[in-house]
């Protein structure tokens, strides 16, 4: 156990990195999901087709592959462009933190698109009409009437998406992000106890996913608050 105490610090900061990636990705996922769902529900055929292509492409491709395409592809592109201006640059990339967060947000966003789409369809159309009849603009209706009702319907599935997102953050270590898997690798080289080191990683993830699950359960209670107490 003496081995462990030396590594506590590193594991802690690695976990902080993981949480930061998660936080950033969640925000992006929600945005992508809302845009995708709006596109699928809109009357524009082009928007519909693009959104469909998005969901099919990202739901059928391995997450690791998406990450690799995104990171290495953008690196090659950026390097070539920079090469034109300053020929001595070797390698330019989007930092793994951002490339990774963006990529996994795109992936989970494609699932969120379907979830949000279903949830929007579940909103009572009569209530939307009432909002329109009152003269409330479409934009205001979207944020003040549609979203408050749809997130209650989306929450259970969205909770699962959040768990997937959290577990996908582990993949970003493959493109070089220094988080807890990286720490485990380093620690293994010194302690020769890979099982222990990787199990710690597993347990850290397990704790975080447990917290997320509890938070989602709490949110579900809040979201359904206005439905309690029917006479």
């Amino acid at each position: 156990m003496a081995d462990l105490s030396v590594w506590w610090d590193d594991y802690f900061w690695g976990a902080m990195t993981v949480l930061k990636v998660f936080g950033v990705s969640v925000i992006m996922t929600v945005i992508f999901g809302l845009i995708g769902a709006s596109a699928k529900l809109s009357k524009s055929r082009i928007a519909h087709k693009i959104a469909s292509a998005y969901t099919i492409a990202f739901r059928g491709t391995p997450e690791l592959l998406v990450l690799l395409i995104f990171y290495f592809g953008s690196a090659i592109t950026l390097t070539s462009i920079t090469h034109i201006f300053s020929p001595e640059t070797q390698f330019v990339d989007i930092p793994p933190f951002w490339a990774g967060s963006f990529a996994i947000a795109l992936i989970v966003g494609s699932y969120a698109t379907e979830t949000f789409r279903g949830a929007f369809l579940g909103v009572d159309p009569g209530v939307v009409e009432a909002s329109q009849a009152l003269g409330i603009s479409n934009v205001h209706t979207f944020f003040y009437v549609r979203i408050p009702q749809m997130w209650r319907l989306a929450l259970p599935s969205f909770g699962n998406h959040m768990l997937s997102l959290m577990k996908d953050t582990a993949l970003i270590s493959i493109i070089g992000l220094e988080e807890i898997l990286f720490v485990a690798e380093m620690a293994t080289a010194v302690t020769y106890k890979p099982f222990l080191m990787y199990m710690i990683v597993a347990l850290i993830y397990l704790s975080i996913t447990t917290v997320i699950t509890l938070v989602v359960m709490g949110l579900e209670k809040i979201a359904n608050r206005h439905l309690e107490g029917a006479p």
């Binding site: 391995p62 592959l65 993949l171 493959i174 485990a184 020769y192 990683v201 597993a202 993830y205």
Partner: protein
């Protein structure tokens, strides 16, 4: 920066070799995962705490941690223990393919057992009672009444999980296995053509996914034929 189609054509044979590994991994892991998943399910619904609690903890662990971490624990972690290195399983556990199959199977078992449990919970209580009223024994009811219906209910979720498994196989490339993703990564590291190669690989995965989705769709239709009026 041109898009080199020639490169894709040259790489296809190698990628198809990788595809072979991917498919083997897929079927082996699904099969073992299903077997273990059924056992876990029976433990979960047995009603005996010394069976259902361990099953619950198992499922909780494997669903709450990333597959990548599970793969690393087995591939990098198991060799730490002498008893593993000296066991009869060592030849399997030494190899990336063995480790990948093992971890994907263990992972799959956790998800599959929950999916099957969902199916079982979805069978209406009335049918259990009808079976009891007819005098069918508990085991007869389970096999001939509950299970067929549970399977039908669980099928959509299972097919989704199978598709996820296809994607999970790509993670085996991180422990040097030359599945399709592993081959792709090797080619890219030599040719610096990430777009062409990775996108080609992605397209192959999409085709496989589409193929299995259709297959499952047809199977679902066949199984559900008695529910259409």
């Amino acid at each position: 920066m041109t898009f080199e189609f020639l490169l894709i054509l040259e790489s296809i044979p190698k990628m198809l070799a990788g595809l072979g590994i991917t498919i083997q991994l897929l079927f082996l892991s699904s099969f073992f995962g299903l077997c273990l998943g059924i056992i876990l399910l029976l433990m979960r619904i047995s009603g005996r705490w010394y069976l259902s609690f361990p099953a619950f903890m198992y499922i909780y662990f494997f669903r709450g941690t990333p597959i990548l971490v599970q793969i690393f624990v087995i591939y990098h972690g198991f060799p730490q223990f002498e008893f593993i290195r000296e066991s009869i399983f060592w030849p399997i556990l030494r190899e990336p393919f063995g480790c990948a199959t093992l971890s994907l199977s263990l992972n799959s078992a956790a998800y599959v057992s929950e999916i099957l449990r969902g199916g079982y919970l979805g069978v209406e209580k009335g049918l259990h009672e009808a079976g009891m009223a007819l005098g069918l024994s508990k085991y007869h009811r389970f096999f001939f009444v509950t299970t067929p219906i549970a399977v039908r209910l669980a099928l959509p979720a299972y097919s989704n999980d199978f598709i996820s498994m296809i994607k999970a196989t790509a993670l085996a490339s991180t422990i040097t296995l030359m599945d399709m993703t592993g081959v792709a990564r090797t080619i890219v590291s030599k040719t610096f053509a990430p777009y062409e190669i990775f996108i080609a690989a992605a397209i192959i995965y999409l085709i496989i996914t589409w193929f299995f989705q259709r297959g499952f769709g047809l199977f679902e239709k066949r199984i559900s034929r008695y529910t259409i009026r």
